[in-house]
C-alpha cells in the first residue's frame, strides 16, 4: 500500500471525529469495516493522509430499539445484523440485503453505512434501506442532521455528505400495521459476486389483507438506487395478486436505466430486474401474510 505517511486516529467521540476530518489538510476518510477502503488503498485508487476509525465511538457498534423502530450504529458489521432477531422480525428484507454483502469474513467487518457511503451503484444493502424508508443520522463540524438514505448517493463514488460529515446511524422506522419487506439480487453465482441487478419491496397490509402502503427500489440498474413510485402505486389497494405483480414487473423493467457491462447487457438487466421485483414483492407479501396469521 502507498500512503506511507498516513495517520490513523481512533477518537472516542463523534464531535472529535468530525473535527479531525474537517481540520485535516489532505485526503481524510472515515474507517468503518474497511472492506471497501482498504481494497481501494491497496489498489492505490485512493491514498488517504488520515483515517478516522469510528469504531471506538460509543453506540457505533450497537443495534438499539428507538421510537418503535431500530437504530443501527454506523459501524455495526453485517454478521451482527444477521444475528439480531428483533430486527429480522421487523425488517427481514433489510437483514437479508445486508447479508448479501461478501463472504463470512467480509460480514465480520462490513457495515451497511460503509456500503451506502462507498456509493457503488451495485451496493447490495441500499435498495432495501430505500424501500424501508430508512434515514441516516449525520454529525458534522456544524452539528447534526438527518436525511433519507436515498438522498446520500448521487452517482458512482459520490455522495451528498459534506467535508467532515460522518453518518452515525441508520434509523429504521416503526412498522405500522402488518408489513414485511424482501430483497433479491441476481448474480451468476450463488455467493460472492457483484449484483447484476437487485430489487427490494416493502409492503404494509390492512386488516382485510389489502396492500395499504408500498415502496419499491431497484439496484444496479442506474447510477444510483431507483425508488419506483409508479410501481408502488400499482401495489397499493391490490391484494398483491398475480396480475398486479405482473404489472409491477413490467413497470420496473421500464423504470430501469441500466448500462451494458461485463456482468450483463442493459437489455438483460432490464428484463431481470422486473423479475426480481415481482419475486421480491411476492416474498414480502408472503411474509406479511404469515405475520397476519400469527397475530390472528
Amino acid at each position: 500500500m502507498e500512503s506511507g505517511n498516513m495517520r490513523y486516529l481512533a477518537p472516542k467521540t463523534v464531535t472529535e471525529a468530525a473535527q479531525l476530518l474537517a481540520d485535516s489538510d489532505g485526503i481524510a476518510r472515515v474507517l468503518a469495516g474497511g472492506t471497501d477502503l482498504l481494497v481501494q488503498m491497496k489498489a492505490e485508487t485512493i491514498a488517504p493522509d488520515l483515517l478516522v476509525d469510528i469504531k471506538h465511538i460509543p453506540g457505533m457498534r450497537e443495534i438499539t430499539a428507538e421510537a418503535g423502530g431500530w437504530r443501527i450504529g454506523a459501524a455495526v458489521p453485517g454478521a451482527h445484523i444477521s444475528e439480531h432477531a428483533g430486527l429480522k422480525a421487523d425488517w427481514p428484507g433489510v437483514v437479508e440485503a445486508a447479508a448479501l454483502i461478501g463472504s463470512t469474513q467480509v460480514q465480520g467487518r462490513a457495515s451497511i453505512v460503509g456500503n451506502l457511503c462507498n456509493a457503488s451503484p451495485a451496493a447490495d444493502s441500499v435498495p432495501a434501506l430505500v424501500a424501508a424508508d430508512a434515514r441516516v443520522q449525520i454529525t458534522g463540524p456544524k452539528g447534526t442532521r438527518d436525511c433519507a438514505v436515498i438522498e446520500i448517493p448521487v452517482g458512482p463514488g459520490k455522495t451528498t455528505l459534506q467535508r467532515g460529515e460522518i453518518v452515525t446511524a441508520v434509523l429504521l422506522p416503526a412498522r405500522t400495521g402488518i408489513g414485511a419487506d424482501a430483497c433479491l439480487r441476481f448474480i451468476p453465482r450463488t455467493e460472492m459476486d457483484i449484483a447484476v441487478c437487485s430489487a427490494a419491496v416493502n409492503v404494509t397490509l390492512d386488516e382485510s389483507g389489502r396492500c395499504s402502503a408500498a415502496r419499491v427500489a431497484l439496484g444496479a440498474v442506474a447510477p444510483v438506487v431507483l425508488l419506483v413510485e409508479e410501481a408502488a402505486d400499482i401495489l397499493v389497494g391490490s391484494r398483491l395478486d398475480r396480475a398486479t405483480l405482473e404489472r409491477l414487473q413490467s413497470v420496473c423493467s421500464k423504470a430501469a436505466r441500466p448500462i451494458d457491462d461485463k456482468r450483463g447487457t442493459a437489455e438483460f438487466r432490464r428484463e431481470v430486474v422486473g423479475v426480481m421485483a415481482r419475486r421480491a414483492a411476492r416474498l414480502a407479501a408472503e411474509r406479511a401474510t404469515a405475520k397476519a396469521g400469527e397475530k390472528a
Binding site: M1, E2, S3, G4, N5, M6, R7, Y8, A10, L31, G34, T35, L38, V39, M41, K42, A43, L51, D53, K55, P77, A79, G102, S103, T104, Q105, V106, G108, R109, T190, E191, M192
Partner: protein
C-alpha cells in the same frame, strides 16, 4: 513516519508490536510477529487464506489494519492446537486428506472453527455457504466439507 505502539491479545497471550498506520494485520502477524499460519492469497478479501478472528468475529486479516488490533482479541491458526494436541478439525483434515498444497488450510480451519462455535451441527449446505469466502484451488472442496462435518460430529460426541 513514526510507528504506532499497539497492545493486543493473540491466542490468549498479551502481545505488543510497533507498526506503520498503513500496515495490514496480516503483514504484522506474518512479518513482525512471525505467525506465518495466515497466508496472503489475494490481499483483497476474496480468498480467505488470511482468516483470523478479531473480537470473536471471523475476518480477513488482509483487510484489517495492524493499528486496529489495539485492545482487541485475535485468534489465529497457531492457537488451535492445545498443548501439542491437534484440534479435532486439524485431525480430521489430516485423516480425510482435506488438503493438498495447504495454502488455504489455515484460513479454512480458522473459519470452520468459528462456524462450529456458532453452530455445532451445521448442514452440508451451511458449511458450504459459510466457507464460500475460502478459496481452494486444489481439493475441489468435497474433502474439506466432509472433514468439517466429521469434526463437528466428533466435537458433539465429546461434548
Amino acid at each position: 513516519m513514526s510507528k504506532t505502539h499497539v497492545t493486543t491479545t493473540i491466542n490468549g497471550t498479551r502481545t505488543e508490536f510497533l507498526c506503520e498506520a498503513n500496515e495490514t494485520l496480516l503483514t504484522v502477524l506474518r512479518d513482525r510477529l512471525h505467525l506465518t499460519g495466515a497466508k496472503e492469497g489475494c490481499g483483497s478479501g476474496d480468498c480467505g487464506a488470511c482468516s483470523v478472528t478479531l473480537n470473536g468475529r471471523l475476518v480477513a486479516s488482509c483487510l484489517v489494519l495492524g493499528v486496529e488490533a489495539e485492545g482487541a482479541e485475535i485468534t489465529t491458526v497457531e492457537g488451535m492446537a492445545e498443548g501439542g494436541e491437534l484440534h479435532p478439525l486439524q485431525q480430521k483434515f489430516l485423516d480425510l486428506a482435506a488438503l493438498q498444497c495447504g495454502v488455504c488450510t489455515p484460513g479454512i480451519l480458522v473459519a470452520a472453527k468459528a462456524l462450529l462455535e456458532k453452530n455445532p451441527d451445521p448442514s452440508e449446505q451451511e458449511v458450504r455457504y459459510w466457507l464460500a469466502g475460502n478459496l481452494c484451488r486444489c481439493t475441489g472442496y468435497d474433502k474439506i466439507i466432509k472433514a468439517v462435518l466429521a469434526a463437528a460430529a466428533d466435537l458433539r460426541g465429546a461434548a
